[in-house]
């Protein structure tokens, strides 16, 4: 790990003002300290944000749920109102990382975690995300875990957060605080596909903080769940995953929310799958036909072609289980 200056502040304005080029915020530290040890990230200054005010709390409000960005994954996963109203979020969190890491990692940090692409994490290899212009080692290399949606000739790395998949499915937003003020942004818009600038993963400006997550009120999200398919049953990143919420009227699908993980360069919202399901009766045929639309335009690579099939099966199983067809 390279030397850095450590600072801590109890004022959001001060924390933002004192951050600049070469500085980074630290909350739980589970991503950044790992990457600093690998010398993938080398901030010269670390600003500890754990004492900042107004960035905690989990509250059900008129317009939905508010989660302070400093709340820990484990506390959010276990929050009774969240478990009752948005089980998909709790399940996505509990299927992430380990109990220890969930006690450490903040919600804001979870959304900003970096890809698990082995080349990004290995400073001895080219990687456009880590070192723009150096090339992508994964396209012709080890790409079994990589994306099939939203890729470019510059980068095919997946976004690793399970939480983000659940939040994108539910149309959640993040509140961002910068030197001049605040802005609220849909999480789906917050994340960027790599294009020619894979080093830019989201719309966060230098020195800007995620202060809270807002999830719109959606009473029927009580019927929601997260299905995660992985090489190991626990403590492993997704090969494929699906976050689904179902609004059923008898066996007719009144509405649905759906996003998938493990296959996209960002959490992947499936608008066309949703359109294909709304108004239809929930049965195996409808679901299989809708799931096909998820892989429209998919680009498989030599080692991850199986994901084209696996993600469809993941979607089918998630909907079938949730709809009680299983």
């Amino acid at each position: 790990m390279r030397p850095f200056l450590y600072e801590s502040s109890s004022s959001v304005q001060e924390a933002i003002a004192r951050s600049g080029t070469g500085s980074a915020f630290i909350a739980g530290g589970t991503t950044i300290l790992d990457l600093m040890k690998l010398e993938v990230m080398n901030p010269s200054r670390l600003m500890d944000v754990n004492r900042l005010p107004h960035m905690r709390g989990i509250e059900m409000r008129e317009d939905g749920l508010r989660i302070g960005a400093l709340e820990k994954m484990s506390d959010v996963a276990a929050h009774p109102e969240l478990v009752a109203n948005y089980p998909v979020i709790s399940e996505a969190l509990l299927k992430s990382a380990s109990a220890q890491i969930r006690n450490m990692a903040s919600i804001g940090g979870n959304l900003l975690q970096r890809t698990r692409c082995g080349y990004f994490r290995d400073v001895a290899t080219p990687c456009n995300k880590r070192e723009p212009g150096s090339g992508c080692s994964a396209i012709d290399g080890e790409n079994r875990m990589h994306a099939i949606l939203g890729t470019s000739s510059s980068c095919i790395a997946t976004h690793p957060s399970d939480l983000a998949v659940a939040l994108v499915a539910l149309d959640a937003s993040v509140r961002l605080q910068n030197e001049v003020g605040e802005r609220l942004m849909k999480l789906d818009d917050f994340y960027l596909v790599p294009g020619t600038t894979p080093d830019r993963e989201n719309q966060l400006r230098p020195g800007e903080l995620i202060t809270e997550v807002r999830i719109p009120r959606l009473p029927w999200a009580r019927k929601s769940s997260y299905l995660k398919i992985r090489d190991r049953e626990s403590y492993e990143f997704a090969l494929t995953s699906a976050a689904v919420a179902l609004d059923l009227d008898g066996d007719t699908i009144r509405d649905v929310r759906i996003a998938v993980g493990g296959v996209g360069t960002k959490p992947w919202k499936l608008a066309t799958v949703r359109e294909a399901l709304v108004g239809k009766s929930l049965n195996h045929e409808t679901v299989v036909a809708a799931a096909k639309l998820a892989v429209d335009g998919a680009t498989p690579f030599p080692q991850n072609g199986f994901k084209v099939d696996l993600i469809q099966r993941t979607i089918v199983r998630a909907l079938v289980n949730l709809g009680g067809l299983a």
Binding site: M1, P3, F4, L5, Y6, I26, G29, T30, L33, D34, K37, L38, L46, D48, N50, S74, A97, S98, A99, Q100, I101, N103, M104, S234, Y235
Partner: protein, 219 residues
Amino acid sequence: MELPADCEPDRQEGSSRREFIRRLAAVSAGLTVAAPLGRGAAVTQESLPKSPPATADGPQGWTEINLTVNGNSERLVVDPRVTLLDALRDRLELIGTKKGCDRGACGACTVHLDGRRVLSCLTLAVMAQGKEITTIEGLAKADQLHPVQAAFIECDGFQCGYCTPGQIMSAVACINEGHTSSDLEIREFMSGNLCRCGAYPNIVDAIKVAAAKMKGGVN
């Protein structure tokens, strides 16, 4: 403290595992057996400064910190890069906490911060200030083993023992969190602690035994 008979010999020798490793280090360093063992090759107090080395410019960014470890207040001067794990092991000589992967993947370094299990390898020492840090050394009450420690011995919940302090710290938290309703739940909530020897079935048994005792108010 009641130990099964096969756990006794080491202790009767009056020689700790660390002493044994020190002797091994001495031998492998090419010293003759007649040379002073133990301290001779040991990590001496001089090599474990509690304050930064003096340099012309002074150390950049070194910070004085206070840690509360197993109820004791400890003052250290550290480079901000020092993890809680390294502060415990190299500065406070609490070497029960183990360094496995040092990347947050194996759980060997698990300690409690304010009663919650965390990874000390991904925690900066400077950020652990103001919290109650509990390590494996702080679990037993005098010579009375914690029920989880006793259960690991009773159920043979280890082979080489390297992951064991982390397993035990994690298990204590797992039980306190109430995640022991089934083998499946124990396995899920202990998945952050890897055991290369594969002692998992016995670890699960130990947790069940300890959980039952702790519910009965033994702890």
